[in-house]
Symmetry: C2
DNA sequence: AGTATCGGCGATTATTCTTCGGCAGAAAGG
DNA sequence: CCTTTCTGCCGAAGAATAATCGCCGATACT
């Protein structure tokens, strides 16, 4: 037996093939991850152990990064949601900026292409708290300015969806 | 017995008091909602049934809106994340705009105060798909323009945190 | 054809969830 | 100050679920 073939087997496809069953399982778990494997299996057309095995694989492959409780910001005393665009001279990502992630008010931080360098999503208890956060940002060396977008109403806020639109509706092309 | 006192009891405080135990439970559930009540109880210093009861209450009060699996956009074939600002003449929220929420690419939609009316967070399979989505937006009557921010790197993306910063670090006040 | 591999299914065991009764502490009333 | 009432926690039991095992059919490769 050629043992060295095991090395070849260790290639990780990194795309462990996500078939239609997986997609349906992922969609169901993204919607509600507290349902039993039996119910999931019934929904997608598989047995409970089969679903269990697929979920285990999806977890290990990284397609499922975790399962989290969705909390209500207002109920927790953080009714103010805002997106903060940061303009920075030089390269935006600094060690100093990363320290801001320790604040539980910060939910997202991305570097973006556009007329801003870094984008924050923050949920604060009050305008004063947002001001304090902005002060923290402005205290970072290299930051030249910020632009804040205060959220008035949230019409949709959901986790990553499993679905992909492949056939976009025909658009009225600009002539 | 005055039965009518029951009516008074039906006042819902709407702030059913979230104490330190609740906050720790919520923090733990936001981080990982797949752990057992026994482990949670051990972490926060309560028994499993006590945690169960508190979680039930937090669920009912709306503090916990649900539990969802966090999926990996790239693994699902949607590696492109973008924030799209929409400028609209008149009032931004239209029935036509709400129909766009049916696309699984759309993860968030807010109306904001700032130099934009509506803000979308979309995760698409490709730049072409993003273009198709933008075309959908521009097809909505009243939309005068969009500004897109393509995400280059995501440094943080997490659900609503239970914690609140009350003592913000002293900021260097602008003199 | 033979053979190995993979994935699903049914059944079993182990964990966990969920409920129940009892009890201690705090708050309201006499 | 004592009683009453209420609330919330705990330990224990029963129900439901998660997690594992062996077997089987399908597929692909030799």
């Amino acid at each position: 037996m050629a043992k060295n073939t095991d090395d070849l087997r260790q290639r990780r496809p990194q795309q462990p093939v996500i078939d239609a069953f997986d997609r349906r399982i992922l969609a169901a778990l993204a919607a509600d991850s507290s349902q039993s494997y039996a119910r999931l299996g019934e929904a997608v057309g598989l047995s409970a152990p089969a679903v269990h095995e697929r979920v285990r694989r999806l977890r290990q492959s990284g397609a499922i990064k975790g399962v989290h409780a969705a909390l209500d910001g207002a109920a927790l005393g953080k009714p103010l949601l805002a997106f903060v665009h940061v303009e920075a001279a030089g390269w935006g990502k600094s060690e100093r900026l990363m320290q801001l992630l320790q604040f539980p008010e910060v939910e997202e931080m991305h570097s973006v292409a556009g007329d801003a360098s870094v984008l924050f999503k923050v949920r604060t208890a009050s305008p004063q708290a947002l001001e304090a956060f902005l002060a923290q940002i402005h205290a970072v060396p290299g930051v030249t300015g910020t632009r804040s977008y205060i959220v008035l109403s949230t019409y949709l806020e959901r986790p990553v969806q499993a679905g992909v639109t492949d056939g976009w509706p025909d658009m009225p092309r600009p002539e």
